[in-house]
């Protein structure tokens, strides 16, 4: 199996894209730590689902925006599992992709920006700083950061969200430079509009159809699509690939 004997942490791993990635990695043999923020029942359900399929998983609560909570989570992983090879930075501050009611540039407050930066750059900083000492012990490790194709084609200008995800894109590259020498590969995935997820439920059919029309593959992205690319990036199939961002959006953006 591709991820035999590997331990993976998926932040925001209990729902949406995160849940798909958790399942995919577990099916490939990894022990998956499903990190969640609030919904314990949901996270436990996913763990049970993974176990029913013959996989192994563990749900751990932590707000990735909270440095102490993240450190406690990593400590728990170290104590219970001893190792950590894969980190998927997927969690972000809840965001409503609602083209009808999005905030205009003039209406945004610094709080809006801050909450997106907290959910992206700050979360990344917390998880990486706590996780690096463990990752650096491995012969090789993989980090995958979830960003968005909106960074390159902000078809709907969700300014605050784009600011947060642009920060991820920048950090993705600079982290790859510093961590390459440790055998840690750092890559990003930029999904297009991923449907269905809770965040995308407010993107109504008209906008969805407009996106589909411009997309070479003539369809939206599914959580399963993103999980496939994540599996590639966390496995040895992507050996010597680092600092890259793969767009999983049916060719809407060609980078």
């Amino acid at each position: 199996m591709l991820l035999e004997n590997k331990v993976a942490l998926v932040t925001g791993g209990s729902r949406g894209i995160g849940a798909s990635i958790s399942k995919k990695l577990a099916l490939a043999g990894a022990f998956v730590v499903v990190n969640y923020l609030k919904n314990e029942a949901r996270a436990n359900e996913l763990v049970e689902e993974i176990e029913a399929d013959g996989g192994r998983a563990l749900a751990i609560v932590a707000d990735v925006r909270d440095e102490v909570a993240v450190q406690t989570m990593i400590k728990q992983i170290e104590q219970q599992l001893g190792v950590l090879h894969i980190v998927v930075n997927n969690a972000f501050t809840p965001y409503e992709f609602n083209p009808k009611n999005r905030k205009m540039l003039a209406d945004l407050t610094w709080f809006d920006y801050q909450s997106q930066i907290d959910g992206s750059a700050r979360a990344l900083m917390n998880v990486m700083q706590a996780g690096l000492p463990v990752l650096k012990r491995n012969a090789s490790s993989k980090v995958v950061n979830l960003t968005s194709d909106l960074v390159n084609i902000p078809a709907t200008p969700y300014h605050d969200y784009v600011v947060g995800k642009s920060a991820v894109m920048g950090l993705n590259r600079s982290m790859a430079v510093e961590l390459g020498a440790f055998g840690i590969a750092v890559n990003a995935i930029a999904p297009g509009l991923t449907y269905p997820t809770e965040s995308s439920q407010f993107t109504k059919r008209d906008v969805r159809d407009a996106i589909i029309e411009k997309t070479p593959s003539q369809r939206l992205t599914t959580p399963e699509d993103v999980a496939g690319t994540a599996l590639y990036l966390v496995s040895d199939l992507s050996a010597n690939v680092t600092g890259q961002c793969l767009f999983v959006d049916g060719g809407l953006h060609m980078g």
């Binding site: 000492p133 012990r137 020498a181 440790f182």
Partner: protein
Amino acid sequence: MNKTVTTIPVYHLPSVITGLEFEELTIENAHGSVKMVSPVLSTDLISKLVVSVKEKQRAYLKKQTTAQIIDVIGEAAEKWTDPNYHLRQLALKTLPIVTGYDASMIELELKRFIRLFRKKNLRRFVQSEIGLFGNVLDDFQPNASGGFSKFYGPDLIFQVFSGNVPGIQLWTLVTALLVKSPTIGKLTFAEAIMPSLFVSSLAEVDQELADSIALVPWRSEEGKALEEVAIEKADAIIVYGGEKTVNSIHEKVGPNKRVLTYGYKIGFAAIGKEALTTDRYPKLLDGLAADIALYDQQSCLAPQSVFIEEGGAVSPLEFTSMLKNALANFQSKHPRARLSENELMSIESARQKAEIEAFTGAETTVFKIEKNLDYTVVYHGRVGFEPSPLNRFINVFAVSSLDEILNVLTPYAQYLQSAGLAVAPKRLFRLADELGAVGVNRIAAIGEMNHVPSGWHHDGGFNLLDLVRVTDIEASAEYASESFDSDVE
């Protein structure tokens, strides 16, 4: 598999020795096939070789000036700097098959190594050790106590070579020539190629000079009688090899002959916190990985342990983590040689020992690839010292100050040789002095541990001076002789 078999002579005989029988030894592996040809040996033949090389020394070698000898060696070395030189091509084709070392690594290192024998470097070598550009080996020269002195090399040197690093034998072959001594050399089948081919190059330049050297390979366990003859006839013996080989020769030789030994040595690297700045550490890392990976630590010059001082921009543990990655990269660039079962087992057991240490709660971390012995990096969170099973196995020790390392080195004093140092100028000399006092005899930059300059002091000894004896014409004899001048008044 490459089906062509390359035939190569792994000996050098004086040209007067003819009518011999030869035997063949074929080495075949994934890299190709080599048929090594060498003469069938007997004690009689060894005696004949002794007579022949000694005769050539008397009739020719001793009449050459040091400068002339340097010219010949330098010209032979220059041949090797040409990529199209037939013997270089033959060496590069056969050495990877016989030694198992990566072909591109051998090419790079050999190219670099052979340049040490250029005329200018040989002149520096002689000048640095005995001065007067070696004239004191040619004729009596005025000495500091008012008389005259001349140096003489041994009448016959028996050299017992090892095969750990290709070409390493050239050092003492050249040294013997420079002191105008003939050589009988026992080669090992593990690497008999470079010395044989280099003496062939000497013969291309000056047949008579090359005739003062005889090199033949035999297996130590089968050649006790041959060895006895060679030891008996020689007045100096040079031995390369492990402790066992060196001790056994010492026992056989007895106290009355000069024995120079190049045995088991331990090198280490020490990195000061001032060298671990964010802009400097990547280069240091590459250098250290090269020091560990070149010739798989088989050269006595390579580091077996690394000390890293805390307090730099990257912690000792982080540096170790990157070292693991650098060694993994080296493996893809220059793979480690194929190892024997014994070698693999000693890596396994050293790994197990480290893993037990890690498991029992010591601050030890083992960096490795499961079921893969390409490299092993063991991090120890405290000061200590561990010889390595070699073949890209390195122990790293975190220290709060490099001053801590002196105590742990002391028990290994007799084995210490090279130290790779990365410290600022203000501590270089102090630390060098302290390391010198515990037995270290060579301090190199990290990244250069496997590369010695011409004129280095091998294992802390002299190369030429340790071989020669001196005859003095004392001032009294010189003045007295004046009185016997028939024309004196």
